[in-house]
Amino acid sequence: MTTVESRLPLAGHVSTEQAIGMLRTMALIRAFEDTASRLYKEGRLPGFLHLYIGEEAVAAGACANLRPDDYITSTHRGHGHVIAKGADVKRMMAELFAKKTGYCRGKGGSMHIFDFKLGVLGANGIVGGGIPIATGAGLSIKLRKTDQVAICFFGDGASNQGSFHESLNIAAVFRLPVIYLCENNCYALSTPQRCHQAVPRISDRASAYGMPGMTVDGQDVLAVYEAVKEAVERARSGGGPTLIEATTYRISGHHVGDSAPYRSSEELEYWRRRDPIEAFQQRLISAGIISEGDVKAMRKSIEEEMAAAVRYGEESPSPNIDEAYEDVFLGRNMHGVLI
């Protein structure tokens, strides 16, 4: 098997298929985000939309280590994680359109995509809300004695919540197979990281819980892959949790509609030049692993996939009003009145 390592310096033990897969995952996430952003600006999607543009290497590199039966928990900025775990972009798009055929039958929306069959234990509207849930999945794995793992995605801002501290402590004490993957994208909404925490490296906190911690370049998909691989291997073999900080940047505003006046255009430019997809694509091309033609073909197939997803989302029916009353425990009296 040809590995990327054999042709690229510093590239790790990744097969060419895996490398191409990661590129495609990143490109698919980007296409999904670009499409959703356009639809949202056209007023066709309700609710909030938090874009992952610029951070794709983290989800793609991390999830490339996972099996279908592994778990993830995600965030309000969750499309990328969910796509990287293998979710169906048609059903995601239908959910963004608030349609009956969406992942949550139109009741969750962009911030709340779940796919329990794929181990996606939910994107989350509560910052830090997913961290204990991933920890609980880790506990269940341990008690059921399987070799599954859970990756818990969360942001730099979330790492200030009590739920972060409490969960990492629990996971370390019980040696749970959880990878805490902090996406440090430099901001929690408008607040720069240096203004919301006094430790520059979030991974430094790992030692306070008694688990390994490391920081990785979140713009480099192979670096993320490698770091997570080591943590996943440790977790699968009973070695307990790891805290990984991936340094990255959100190119868009906090949500679509936020013009992000709190950051400089120089900063934005700096990170635009570090686009993870562009960089990886160039790397694969210059190593002769893929050709310009392959890239074009990949883009074309993704475009078609997105067009189909949008069509599906748009043409799907809205939920019936009755569905507002389904999927929740309801108390009714003998006359059928809700009580």
Binding site: P46, G47, F48, E95, A98, K99, C104, G106, K107, G108, G109, M111, H112, N124, G125, I126, V127, G128, G129, G157, A158, N160, Q161, G162, S163, A188, L189, S190, T191, C195, H196, Q197, P261, Y262, S318, P319, I321, E323, A324, Y325, V328, L330, G331, L338, I339
Partner: protein, 343 residues
């Protein structure tokens, strides 16, 4: 009189109180230069600086507790919790700590703390960003709870809340921020615990909170055309509740409808209904009716969200249902407009 938005009214109250009292400080996520997620604190960082308008880390329990600690030791903090849904994370500090410290300490200390937050549906924010949790807070002894429904009440009540020496939860509504209304030039605080009658009528009392006030006013116009005169009461403060104003009105009208956006089950409407049942049973000519959200989480799809939210038509229906009860029960009724009574 000047016409300003609800958002500007809250901002103005904060500004005026901060100018008046140097111990008033703001603490919350992105409240500084960014001006808050709903732009309510815009311009305050520029005027008062980073020592009085503090961006907090993303940590609601920490925000509420830190503000409380400062309140116990000489400051008069106004903490912002971006969504009332996130107050659940801060509930230990709000309910177990802030609400109890004065009492548990045998009255050694006052707790001049305001927690500003915003609640409500209407924007497809889905189940974790659209709740109305005021009843949770009303249930905790020790807290005052305020829900302003327009710019003038927002400004006047917030000023009183900031001057109050007990902890106050001040609940704005995300759909009201752009609402315009006149505010008086004098900027006098509005006393807490006093309801206001927004429209007088003899046939039916409607008690409505927050966004339901405007809906009730709309319903009242429709009903007036049908010959039913509705009296609308906005309690403004839920704790302490001005039950006397509600009681006097019900004595006059004999009918009561309560409208709020929160889930009907164990909602604040139940508290009002019980009080009226206890105090004014003999004056009621019909069962009390509630108009509220059914006990389901807030759904994302706009079509579902609007289907479960109470609206003006439902308020009008509830008024008709109890005022024209004979029609519904199949009993003969002779409704006499203007008397508020079935005969």
């Amino acid at each position: 009189m000047a016409e300003i938005t609800y958002r500007q009214a809250v901002n103005l109250a904060l500004r005026e109180e901060m100018r008046r009292d140097p111990t008033v400080i703001l603490f919350g996520e992105d409240v500084g230069r960014y001006g808050g997620a709903f732009k309510v604190t815009e311009g305050l960082f520029e005027e008062f600086g980073p020592e009085r308008v503090l961006d907090a880390p993303l940590a609601e329990a920490g925000i509420a507790g830190t503000a409380l600690g400062a309140a116990l030791t000489g400051m008069r903090p106004v903490a912002e919790i971006m969504y009332i849904d996130f107050c659940t994370i801060a509930l230990d500090q709000i309910v177990n700590q802030a609400a109890k410290i004065r009492y548990m300490s045998g009255g050694q200390v006052s707790v001049p703390l305001v927690i500003r937050t915003q609640s409500g549906s209407g924007r497809s924010s889905a189940a974790q960003h659209a709740q109305s949790l005021e009843a949770w807070l009303c249930h905790a002894p020790g807290l005052l709870v305020i829900m302003p429904s327009d710019p003038a009440s927002a400004r006047g009540l917030l000023k009183s809340a900031i001057r109050e020496n007990n902890p106050v939860v001040f609940i704005e509504h995300k759909l009201l921020y752009n609402m315009k209304g006149d505010v008086p030039d004098d900027g006098e605080p509005i006393p807490l615990g006093k309801a206001r009658i927004l429209r007088e009528g003899n046939d039916c009392t409607v008690v409505a909170t927050s966004t339901e006030v405007a809906k009730a006013m709309g319903a009242a116009d429709t009903l007036a055309d049908e010959g039913i005169e509705v009296e609308i009461i906005d309690p403004m403060t839920l704790v302490p509740l001005d039950i006397d104003t509600i009681f006097s009105s019900v004595r006059k009208t004999g009918h009561l409808v309560i409208a709020h956006e929160a889930c009907e089950r164990a909602g604040f409407g139940g508290e009002i209904a019980t009080r009226v049942g206890e105090l004014a049973f003999d004056y009621l000519d019909a069962p009390i009716a509630r108009v509220a959200t059914p006990p389901v989480p807030s759904p994302f799809a706009p079509i579902l969200e609007s289907a479960i939210l109470p609206n003006a038509a439902q308020i009008a229906d509830a008024v008709r249902r109890i005022c024209l009860r004979g029609n519904v029960n199949g009993r003969i009724h002779t409704y006499q407009a203007g008397t508020g009574r079935d005969h």
